[in-house]
């Protein structure tokens, strides 16, 4: 029974007999089979035979081609986009220039209109000033005339009153004589 337990222990704990080293037995290390498997893998991997679907290198080539195509396409698209951008930029520049032109034209138009308006207003203003002055002159003249007429009338009335009040015969005669003498002198002068 001891034997059994011993061998059990033996099975569990392998004695530390060996050490690191190389196994040179070709059959035990399975080298030939491994090299065959390796060779077949590389054969299929490299895709030596033309039309096999498993070939890794074909797969990778396809992938590379796909990437190349994608890059080429996107570069083409990029070129087109850049071209369009250039076109759009040129158009923008043109439109901007036109807008500037329009703006300048508009400004000068507005300026001219303003000057015209100012001038016409100025003229109107001047005319109104003239009218005003004339009216004032006229009014002044009228007032002066009125005052003059009134003063004259009063003087006349005064004179008439004076005449009517203190005109007696003697004075009447003297006045008539004086007037006749005056008229005679005037007649002499005119002759």
């Amino acid at each position: 029974m001891k034997n059994v337990t011993d061998s059990c222990v033996f099975l569990v704990h392998w004695p530390s007999a060996g050490s690191f080293g190389f196994n040179t037995d070709i059959l035990a290390t399975n080298l030939i089979n491994l090299s065959v498997v390796f060779g077949v893998l590389i054969f299929f991997g490299k895709g030596v035979c033309a039309d096999n679907l498993l070939s890794l290198s074909d797969l990778l080539d396809n992938r590379k081609q796909r990437i190349l195509n994608t890059i080429r396409n996107s570069e083409e698209l990029r070129g087109k986009a850049i071209e369009q951008l250039e076109k759009a930029r040129a158009r923008l520049k043109k439109v901007e220039m036109e807008a500037d032109q329009f703006r300048i034209n508009g400004y000068s138009e507005i300026e001219r209109e303003k000057m015209n308006l100012i001038n016409s207003t100025y003229k109107t203003l001047e005319q109104l000033e003239n009218y005003k002055n004339e009216t004032i002159n006229f009014e002044q003249q009228k007032a002066i005339n009125e005052v003059r007429q009134q003063v004259f009338q009063q003087a006349l009335q005064g004179a008439l009153g004076t005449l009517n009040s203190c005109l007696n015969n003697e004075l009447h005669l003297r006045t008539i004589n004086a007037n006749i003498g005056m008229f005679g002198a005037m007649n002499e002068i005119t002759d």
Binding site: N23, N33, L34, F38, V40, L60
Partner: protein, 247 residues
């Protein structure tokens, strides 16, 4: 007693002839832990292969990819497709995780099937694919668990736990159980498949050293690739499942 010891002797003899070592490990003592050294060594080789080829591929990146870069971009596209179909719209942050899973498992499996590990002899055990060891696969599966919990919790907050009582609260035990069965099934599936592949090849080689193992080796390569894909796809599917909300 005699019969027993005799049978044990025959067994030992058979064992020596077959030379198939299962469950033999090259133990390292790190702290209080026993570590399977052969797994670490092969893992490091796998990591070195991955990092080295990645470094080579991105050494001089070009707009029009040449061979190495092209291949790795193709791989990246493939991983991105897988994660996009499984996770959905917000797949982008998870591509590195899924990619790491897929590439590590794939290269591990294929290294086990293609590299002549047996040339190098260890004191105990033998070198094989890292995924040949249950510890590696369990670690990967637990990482996946952590990842989908993290994804769910960050996406939906505590509302994530609402999925446990959906569609009905009766399913609560089953839903909780699922969190344990997911990493279990992931790890056991990968481990079992890879171990079985390598065992079949080893047994066949010990019986008929030439030609006969070759088809099985190809089958092993195929299964290895499929297993890596399945692991990555399932990890992505779990992450996607925990991220999608039931509105």
């Amino acid at each position: 007693m005699n019969v027993l010891s005799y049978s044990i002797n025959t067994l030992k003899g058979l064992y020596d002839i077959s030379g198939v070592e299962v469950g033999q490990h090259f133990y390292w003592q790190v702290g209080g832990f026993q570590i399977h050294g052969q797994v670490l060594i092969t893992s490091w080789v796998v990591i070195a292969i991955l990092l080295g080829s990645a470094a080579l591929a991105v050494r001089s990146p070009q707009t029009i990819p040449t061979s190495g870069q092209n291949f790795f971009e193709y791989v990246l596209e493939f991983i991105r497709d897988v994660s996009k179909t499984q996770i959905g719209e917000e797949y982008r942050p998870w591509v590195p995780f899924i990619g790491t899973m897929f590439l590590f498992i794939f290269v591990s499996n294929w290294s086990g099937a293609l590299l002549p590990w047996k040339i190098i002899q260890l004191p105990h055990g033998e070198l094989a694919a890292p995924t040949n060891d249950i510890n590696t696969t369990v670690a990967l599966a637990l990482l996946t668990s952590v990842a989908y919990f993290y994804a769910g919790l960050t996406k939906r907050g505590l509302g994530y736990f609402g999925k446990y009582i959906q569609p009905t609260p009766i399913l609560l035990p089953i839903n909780i159980l699922e969190d344990f069965t997911k990493p279990l099934s992931l790890s056991f599936r990968l481990f079992g498949n890879i171990l079985a592949d390598e065992l079949v090849v080893v047994v066949l080689v010990s019986l008929v050293p030439l030609v006969v193992p070759i088809p099985v080796m190809f089958l092993g390569l195929f299964t290895s690739g499929i297993q890596a894909l399945i692991f990555a796809t399932l990890a992505a599917a779990y992450i996607g499942e925990s991220m999608e909300g039931h509105h």
